[in-house]
Amino acid sequence: MKKPELLAPAGDLEKLKIALMYGADAVFIGGKAFSLRARASNFGLDDIKEAVNFAHTHGKKVYVTVNIYPHEEDLEGLIDYLKALEARDVDAIIVASHAVMRAAKRHTALEVHISTQQSITNHMAANFLKDEGAERVVLAREVSLDGLKTLAPNTSMELEVFIHGGMCVSYSGKCTLSNTMTDRDANRGGCAHSCRWEYDLFKDNELLNKTEPFSMASKDLQTVHHISKLIDIGVDSLKIEGRMKSIHYIATVVNTYRRLIDSITEEIEPSIPRYLLDIKKAENRLTSDGFMRGMTTIEQQLYNMRSEHPTQAFVGIVKAFDATNRTLTMEQRNYFKEGSLLERFSPNEETLTFEVRNLRTTEGEALEVARHPKQMLMMDAPFSMTPYDILRKVQS
């Protein structure tokens, strides 16, 4: 049984390290140029070098998105940028535009992955791009499991499939709602997510949506139930979306899929209910399985508009552990207090609970509550912890 790569998003270096430590085999990041998700805190070339060094040291990979559809004025500097990425040893670039693919193949030896912005839905299109030198295609989210079963054996192209995160409602790359409504080019990093706004629907002058706004919005993707089938089909890479998500989200989602993939490929019966519970600990929107079972229905759509349920469970991240004094130092992220019941979530250790005791500042000042984000705090630790362990409140 082939073990697929688990590919995670990383909006900055901290998220990249978290993603890799919590079980991703590879991460995808955006550079400061030529990348969508313009508001993500993208990587400069020095950051990319550091990211690649960190990943390669741990035997993992870094892919860089170069996935805008450039207009003529955007082409300036493209070749130099691609060469700079090559010089920094990135493992692949993710491109949408034929122009960018062509430039990469002509001027560098970079491995090229075709972005989902190309909306590739069949093996013939994949094979066309294979002929042009692309090594992998990130398939459209509209491809179902049945479609994949036929597609996969008919191409030698590596296949990457989204398994978790936000979804375009439109075919990706085909939408100019944002261009029209906000003057922001969705294919150059400016998507305003207009498909998630509230609308009315009229026939002539008759309002058809009488009880609630017309919504086109989609639930996020979540495919815990389908990972086994994706592995059986032989998909090469399973991708989590969300370069702008928090480190807690990335750690939780990545680690859940890591353990699920490992249990399937090691032929240990996976505990699906457990994984579903674990993944819900990430701050999250409502989820569905997208197009996995075929055409979408009510189940995949989002009709109670405000679906985000930001959890306050993530209270901090461990920065240091003093084994002699059994004390931990952590960076605060959400409110908690002396006596709160926390759990230590670690990439390679069992999740354990403990009660906050002797909460204090790093200067030793006793605290009743921790209410300042990013404040460095100390407390007693009943068991050993390691940097990047995540602390979260146990939900009653």
């Binding site: 839905t121 069949n122 100019t176 922001r184 609630e212 017309f214 759509q301």
Partner: protein, 294 residues
């Protein structure tokens, strides 16, 4: 500059009497956002009629092709290669792959709607050996001029008619009405409805659902009369999109375009199209943080 009109049986006779250069007909079930589409058997007499009128004919197969469609697509493609057509418009790269196999690359016209945005994209397709490319709908007139100046390949633009701005595979209209408890949600599918965003009530967007999913168009159809001379200098194929127009309106528009081509554009003509806009010709869209009002 050649004038091509997306056509159907209803409008064909009228169009063939006019000084247009060619028509575009949709191949069922692989053409979308057309007034009508036709099986190959139904297309053959239409193609013959166009050729008898000494006009050119392009077919369009601009659908996104899913794996389940591939076998039937190959069957149809084998028959298309024997038809006396002058061009075959496509969006999905599966068609390009098939055309390579069947020696039809020189008939292909790439029309992805949003992907072809620069002269290097044109060079990519020129190297493939296809006939022409259609520029992305969101190009400005300056973009068009720059691309054409840097390219030697025939360049087409859809420059009149409704502009599609959103295509979802999802049956969004039917699903919504199922959600609200409508007992027969499918009745809304084929009606041309209007989508209204709460902060843009003056801009109703045409929306409909069909076998390809849900399509949303810009509020107003576009025209290019203000830039007609610039367009003539930089566009080889001027395409008229006829969806959401009725046949008499199509005929009237085509008459106006022919007249503009011969005599130039006057104020009366511009006034006639006051209910249209200029698409993206003068609407440069870039990423601008805070630029949107959301």
């Amino acid at each position: 500059m050649k004038l091509y009109v997306k056509s159907d049986q209803e409008s064909l006779d009228s169009l063939l009497d006019k000084e247009i250069d060619g028509v575009i007909l949709g191949v069922h079930p692989y053409a979308q956002r057309m007034r009508n589409t036709y099986t190959l058997n139904d297309l053959k007499p239409l193609i013959d009629k166009v050729k008898a009128a000494k006009k050119e004919v392009w077919l369009t197969m601009n659908a996104i092709i899913h794996e389940a469609d591939i076998e039937a697509l190959e069957y149809i493609f084998k028959q298309i290669k024997d038809l006396p057509i002058d061009g075959l418009m496509f969006a999905d790269l599966a068609i390009a792959k098939l055309a390579k196999t069947h020696g039809l690359l020189n008939k292909l016209v790439y029309d992805s709607e949003t992907y072809l945005t620069n002269s290097e994209d044109v060079s990519f397709w020129q190297a493939q050996g296809i006939k022409a490319v259609v520029g992305a709908r969101q190009l400005t007139i300056e973009d068009i001029e720059i691309i054409n100046n840097k390219s030697s390949m025939p360049f087409a633009m859809q420059l009149h008619g409704y502009v599609n701005m959103f295509h979802s595979a999802r049956p969004l209209i039917e699903t919504f009405f199922r959600h609200t408890g409508d007992v027969s949600p499918e009745k809304h599918n084929e009606n041309y409805l209007k989508l209204v965003e709460h902060q843009r009530r003056e801009e109703p967007y045409p929306i409909y659902q069909d076998a390809f999913g849900t399509h949303v168009f810009r509020s107003k159809p576009m025209h290019a009369f203000n830039d007609f001379e610039r367009v003539k200098n930089h566009v080889d194929y001027f395409i008229v999109n006829t969806i959401l127009y009725d046949a008499p309106r199509v005929a009237s528009i085509v008459d106006d375009l022919i007249k503009a081509n011969k005599e130039g554009v006057n104020d009366a003509l511009l006034k006639k199209y006051i209910d249209h806009d200029e698409g993206f010709l003068h609407k440069k869209t870039v990423y601008n943080e805070g630029g949107g009002n959301r």
